[in-house]
Point group: D3
């Protein structure tokens, strides 16, 4: 069984020697064409696929993430961006990982799909008390994507950096592959030419963020690119797990 | 559209006049025969059905709940019971409801399916700052089930109280109706004759809780009883919403 | 000596092998006829009597409790209901019990008399670090009252459940027995016929709670019933202590 | 009525124009001859007497205080010294004073009798949100004692400063006046000649504190001196209230 | 006057119409050749220069920062890396900025020099209550450095990204320009060839980080490059302030 | 090397057997004639001199302190008084001392120069987990100043107590010795005759504090007195360290 959700507690107890994968998503605006669940769908899908590859188990995803930042998610003022405070997310991750350890797991992967969650994950995991034999990994799905795969997706365009790849080519392609019924292709916005300024401004002013919420272009997105990206991420992360959790 | 998950942020913005429903579940042992996701499945299913009935919207469920207590959930030592601390859950609920209010919602229902969550929900909602026109309701799915419906389910048996109805007749019936593929009927335990003592003991001792984790009998559970219970809960909660959120 | 308050620190040091009892009360409206200290008087009185029975020691009572809830205490808007936040009460209990443990106590009973305190007590005690030989019990005074004693008090009336027994027959009887000078018998309200709805509403509306603050009838209260209830609670709790703390 | 404890909520509601006095004590070692409740007895007694003088109301005392410091209370390692953390005490005071304000009180006195509580009281009151017409005072019972009264008590001896007046002449005299049955006169220690060093040491070493816990001499204590001190403190504090809360 | 440190409170009061700049540094290992104060020196120097340019005032620098991360600072296990927790740094920044606002400042710049501080700064500033006319900017010194300046520094080498520019070419050059007496040029390490893996590992293993603590090469650092970088950063940030705080 | 700031991490690692000194100052109004950095300058100067005397190391000073109190610092409403909350300062000190311990230091001195910081320092250090061989001292610079030195400074005047020695004779003298360019001698105020009342008032009223912010006279301050005081404090603290940290 791959999903902890489907297990009885006795199944779960029998799985404590396997790798436990905690997907962390968000409920966040993703432009005019992608659903609020984009990050959660991606995190849960990759977690599930990695779990299948390495005979690990996927935990229920966290469906709310840390506060969206202006130049990586559009900021928290967009309706539909339903954010947790840093302390709430950090406590949740620390609680969950702590319970996994108490139940006997020693190989844990926190798999992230929301840019802003990274700091909270590092904070939670960096505060774990030392435990004999414990190994916890944290990766965002994009971290191990090989450069050549990435650049092949952008054709003649330029990869704008992961911070700006919000509701843009990579996420749109992934959703076209993973959940095409949730993508409104007809609403994919044109290139807003947005370039993030070199500083943050509080409060945000009108026009600081493209009105539609996408931070980089996605017109060149395709389901096939999504498949390539998904498979690259899954196989890299599975390989990392195999290597790190061996022995 | 019923699910916030499926919406773009513009859909969501267009929905702020509707009732927003936040389902709160858990990841908790539910005896030898029910999955860890039992509370989350029930919360999400009832939230979705109520949302359809009243044209509300269902938010992503919280899939982890507050610390399982010995005599209402078996306690936090069962493997698979992955609990949040009080502060983590309270902060998450307060953050999410606060974001809904900031986005313009004025009619919000927190729908709970995990006994121990009740205090955290009350704490979070009782601390909301006053907002013109805001009405927030909180209900556990069992709260409004009419007594006659409830008692009809128990045939000759005795309803043991909601506290002990953990992994017992009502939850088992609901899961047989909602997610029969996740119920291991062959593992439904016999009646352990468990009666909760009149006090709590820290730490728990061997034998304080039935070893299989179910606190009351479930042998008489059926999918048909689950359907009756589900429909009773949904229609009562929908009626409450209709009445309370009118005008 | 029974009361820690009266001891010097050397007396206290000599008592660390005894059972320490921490009474937890509240400062809360109790209808038109009972004083704000009702819960504290009851908690302290039962703690003292149990301490005498089992040669334990009674600590100073906590005279403020966790936030009164609408359908178990009338809610925090009644003047005279002076509530602590969850964190404040939890921290206080954890601090006090932690100090008792550090001083050498291994047998500790937290004795509660305010419905809403239960969650905070469970939270505080459930977070104690493991200590060799430590046993901590938690009980509300009503938990171990035998059903036959309870039902004998209600004559032809119906026991409305402990949640609603606020400023009602049992508390009124107990106060008539324990502190008759603080009971305004002439102000005992008639039956308001209040029945709690199946959900919570934030904010409360006019009329959600009986205006006088009592949630169930108390006209049939007598000092003699108070004595019976008091003695039943004390002897049951003393028996629990004897059994649990033996050896 | 002077004591909030004895009031019904309707009495309390009728009192919101009066001065509310919150006594803050401790559960702390007070040498071989004074009880753990020394600070609480003094705080509650002075609060009650001031309340009578100015027609104010006395709230239930906080019977646990902030962590005893080595050179003002002997430190937290003495058995019987049962301390709250800073956050727990600060939150409790802020919660209680906040509830008083919400109930309509505008004249509030926090009356302290435990040296270490001073910082927590200042922190709690210094964080109150501004409220039209609100005036909150904080005083320790010793703050307004006139110098001549104080020095008259010390005969030929030297006043060691309030920090060291722990379980010493003033507290012993007060307790001989207020609660003589709780004073073990035969155990009053001789002068240990203790002088606090000019720095704090963590952890404390053997001998840093007089073994009996009293930080300054009390052999010259008498009930009559206690009466003088009590009356001086009460009349000064009553005068402060009269002056500050006038108009 | 440029430095708040040197002002009396009356000078400060007369400056509330100017731009206040809060430099945030760290106490962190910076390889074998740079001092622990590297980030603080850089933050304070740039803050001072910008303040001079725009007639702003520079506040005392925060000399401790948020927890060093393995692949942007070497991690918290290096001796000399003295880190604050997220909550401590966030609270400090929120407190300080809140006090500036209360004192009347409406133009505030938080100027950062430690990679890991970025999240804490965003969290603190993102939680500020709305204030009429308030504008707060946050920038790390490297954010506005023009690409052509940056790339001109790397000669034939490759810019490794700011995350890895720890104790590397840019910081070394800046310190050779700003505080040459604190740079041990003879200890500048050779290129370790370090490349950060695509995931984080808890706990770190031997060899995850170059033993000397520098994450990228610095052999090509010169004081002249430091001067160019410093002047580029200062003039860009001054220009941002001029533009944003105008009017 | 005396300053941790100037060390590389390898220097620091080589110093873990030495005494680490953490100076704690403030950013606070100090009358019309002293700079906001007064406490920080004094704390850092004494820390440095003690470090030289005992071959210890001085850490970067904390340049912001806990909330100024009315009758020991003038209160937090003076512009330029930029305060931390209790929790922020306590967390910072606990974090820093905890990191020093983790790095191997066993002899640590927290050296304070801001009256209100004392409680936060005690709170932070009193919560340290026990560590084999660890000794932490806390002293304010004035604590060990011998009485005869102190009284010699006041000529015919009266020492008003350390609480009121704010921006007064001792601090003014110290600053004339340590940083004469930061003292505006021409602005030294006359004697305001201020005497603190015997209680605290929230909120403060106009006139509760001398308008210039100095709480006691400083007209008799001289650089020579500053030198005497500085040397007395340094030599006493050095002697304490030598004695306490020996062996």
């Amino acid at each position: 069984m791959t999903h902890a959700s489907d297990m009885t507690w006795e199944d779960f107890r029998a799985s404590t020697g396997r790798v436990a994968i905690l997907p962390v998503g968000s409920c966040e605006q993703h432009g005019p064409h992608l659903p609020l669940s984009t990050d959660t769908v991606i995190a849960a899908s990759i977690a599930e696929a990695v779990a299948r590859d390495i005979d690990g188990i996927a935990l229920p995803a966290l469906a709310y993430g840390y506060r969206s930042a202006p130049y990586s998610g559009g900021g928290s003022l967009f309706p539909g961006t339903i954010d947790l405070s840093f302390g709430a997310l950090t406590a949740a991750i620390a609680d969950i990982v702590g319970e996994l350890i108490a139940d006997g797991f020693r190989c844990i992967l926190v798999l992230n799909a929301h840019y802003e969650n990274q700091g909270a994950i590092v904070d939670a995991l960096g505060s774990l008390p030392p435990t004999e034999g414990l190994k916890v990994l944290a990766s965002s799905w994009w971290d191990p994507v090989p450069g050549d795969v990435l650049h092949s997706l952008f054709d003649s365009g330029r990869f704008p950096g992961w911070e700006l790849e919000h509701a843009a080519l990579t996420e749109t392609s992934l959703m076209m592959h993973l959940a095409p019924h949730l993508v409104r292709e007809e609403l994919i916005p044109g290139d807003s030419g947005f370039a993030a300024p070199a500083y943050l401004r509080f409060p945000l002013a009108e026009g600081d963020i493209p009105a539609h919420g996408a931070l980089a272009p996605s017109a060149a997105a395709t389901a096939e690119k999504g498949r390539l990206l998904f498979e690259a991420s899954v196989s890299e992360i599975a390989a990392i797990c195999a290597r790190e959790f061996a022995g």
